[in-house]
Amino acid sequence: MQLELSEQDAAFRAEMREFFTTKIPQEIRDVVASRGELSKDDIVTSQRILNAEGLAVPHWPAEWGGRDWTPLRRHIWHEEMQRACVPLPLAFNASMVGPVIAQFGTQEQKERFLPATANLDIWWSQGFSEPDAGSDLASLRTTAVRDGDDWIVNGQKTWTTLGQHGDWIFMLVRTDPEAKKQRGISFLLIDMTSPGVEVRPIELIDGGHEVNEVWFSDVRVPAENLVGEENHGWDYAKFLLGNERVGVAPVGATKRVLAQAKEWAGDTLADDPLLAARVAELENELLALELTALRVVAHSADGKPHPASSVLKLKGTELQQAVSELVVDLAGPASLASGAGDDSTLPQWTRRATPAYLNLRKASIYGGSNEIQRQIIARTILGL
């Protein structure tokens, strides 16, 4: 056991910190710091700067831009980005479809897609969930029927985050309607400019437009856009969902907001022991979470997802939500003024507080709800 970072890792951390705080435009990082909404341009700009430095997809195979870092370095890279308010590389590209193509795609697919994916020249959307297939993803009903050299896709996807920016979408589609649930699903890449693809916005309870429905009506997709083997899409989806061990819990971002909250609280923190205790308890839980993340990355060398990832997701989202709730309480009466413009006398953080709180209720629902995480822990770890 060893507390300190090795000299090399400490230097690596300093290097990351330096890069993120000097090379990513301040105005982009300010948007993150104020919990504002990033534009598509912000996200693209940031990722391209990272990619130029080899910092966008360090966990990919070296051939396609990966860095062969230790899990600890990837953890440091990920935490320091959040700490510096750098927008993370787009998860759909960097953590989801990229690794799948790199692992299961043909050489043609890799060459065609991976560089563009790393550089965010293609913005990927995710087409997994459907109105009747959320936690129970395997009951999806969007079909792809073979017609000559094409697939004809029909159906509806939903909860497609930032689908309004999407150039391409990676999809789970049913290619064998006779097979049992998980069997008969394939993994398909679709150009979103194809005729028959329609993106419809979903307004969320914070008033934002972050997710979409995506409808497919007789959309023609070249057969070469199928990834891996036909009817094996479920395996690739499982790989994709279980692929990330680093960054499962949003530790760095939550720590940053909590540190900001203490600043926002100002003198109140010293005057109100109950508030101080609430902050101290959250800080301690976040510390425990961060340490657990460090323990988990240290044990992920075998390439399989560490089951404790579910602990990180579960507790990570709970703490993210708890901190956002704290900020609403700190804002007090000003937390109602979410619709006020920048000419308001109320500081921006007070006006952003409630929309952020409401928006983050999703954190425990999307990407494997916390009920699913509990089930994974109970089954996989505890054998129940």
Partner: protein, 385 residues
């Protein structure tokens, strides 16, 4: 001690529910209404006036119905069930309550009469930027005396402050203490910037630059205690509005668990979910008991019971409601899943409204601090005076 409502009270609740159902028969109606200005349904507001609801808490001499806090609570609970955006709570109970508590006979008759008839909307301007919940004004300052007062400073957020005909404004008096003033919405020196709140309500920044104002009451005695009392009453009514919203949030959740299928079976098959619904029910019923009790305490206080402590009761009800509203609200979204994150579906907006109610006049943390400071002052809490 008796928790049951009498026939008249039941009839009032039913009448209000019926009227609301005509405007907000479906959630889509409510959603459409809050998208347009003024953020509520003016026809419904007139209907409430005709039914006597807008004058409910005021004396008959002032043009009201002379009802008590229990009646206001019943109305608020019905409004909460459909999260109606009509500003009964802020305009009638809070702003009207301030006028009723502090105004001269003439001020009361004039302002409350018009309010009761639906002709005049009042907006309570208490909150000051950068300060928490308090009955004491500090940053908005009154200058003058007698009939000639002017106000200087900024109030924000002021519920329905951009469209209200008259503002009820707390301001620091020249010799210390807080005065409450009437300011015409369109007076010179009043700049109002309105916006929507996250729950579809309306609020505004109100900038006062030498705006002329009328002091409520006869003299410049400190009105902070009276303001605090009216705020306490409003808190209890707000608890009931939250009760209505929580009740529907739970009903919707149980209905969803019964009807929505996952993994081939209704969600209600999953015990981990139904047990959490049971815990929501426990929270809700405990909060209901506190809110109803607090309304009775207010009622007893308003009829002169010396033992009733409405400030304490309001704190206790508000703390219990805050805890329950967060628990019930957060679980309602989580047990629904993604659908509850959408603006089109009602449950998320119920949670938004509960969050707004919780932060309008003081959240659970605020009230717990006050109760903790007092905890050594009694051996035990006895609900019967």
């Amino acid at each position: 001690m008796d928790f049951t409502h009498d026939d008249e009270q039941k009839a009032l609740a039913e009448a209000v529910r019926g009227l609301l159902a005509r405007t907000y028969g479906s959630y889509e109606d409510r959603r459409r209404t809050v998208k347009d200005e003024p953020g509520y349904d003016e026809k419904l507001w007139t209907g409430l006036a005709e039914m006597g609801v807008l004058g409910l808490p005021f004396s008959e001499a002032d043009g009201g119905m002379g009802a008590g806090p229990i009646e206001s609570a019943l109305v608020a609970e019905e409004l909460g069930r459909v999260i109606a955006p009509e500003p009964f709570l802020t305009s009638v109970v809070l702003a009207g309550g301030l006028v009723a508590a502090l105004g001269t006979d003439a001020q009361r008759a004039e302002t409350l009469g018009a309010l009761s008839e639906g002709e005049l909307l009042l907006a309570p301007a208490l909150a000051e930027p950068g300060r928490g919940w308090t009955a004491e004004a500090r940053d908005v300052v009154a200058t003058g005396s007698g009939d000639a007062w002017t106000l200087e400073g900024v109030k924000e957020p002021v519920p329905h402050g951009a469209t209200a005909g008259r503002l009820v404004v707390t301001a620091a008096l020249p010799d210390g203490g807080t005065g409450v003033f009437l300011v015409e919405g369109d007076a010179d020196g009043v700049t109002r910037t309105g916006y929507a709140t996250h729950d579809g309500g309306r609020a505004a920044q109100v900038r006062l630059s030498g705006a002329s104002a009328t002091l409520l009451g006869d003299g410049t005695t400190d009105a902070a205690a009276a303001v605090a009392r009216v705020v306490d009453e409003t808190r209890v009514v707000a608890c009931h509005q939250a009760l209505g919203a929580m009740t529907v949030a739970l009903e919707s959740t149980t209905e969803y668990l019964r009807s929505r299928k996952q993994f081939g079976v209704p969600l209600a098959t999953f015990q981990a979910l139904t047990f959490r619904a049971a815990d929501m029910y426990v929270s809700l019923e405990l909060a209901r008991s506190l809110a109803q009790w607090a309304a009775m305490v207010l009622g007893a206080a308003s009829t002169g019971s010396a033992d009733a402590d409405p400030a304490d009761a309001a704190r206790r009800a508000a703390l219990g409601t805050s805890r329950a509203a967060r628990h019930v609200g957060q679980e309602a979204i989580q047990l629904h899943g993604g659908i509850a994150m959408t603006a089109e579906y009602h449950v998320g907006n119920y949670v938004s409204h509960l969050t707004a109610l919780d932060h309008l006049l003081g959240d659970g943390h605020h009230h717990l601090r006050a109760l903790a400071a007092d905890v050594g002052g009694h051996a035990e809490v006895d609900p019967l005076p």
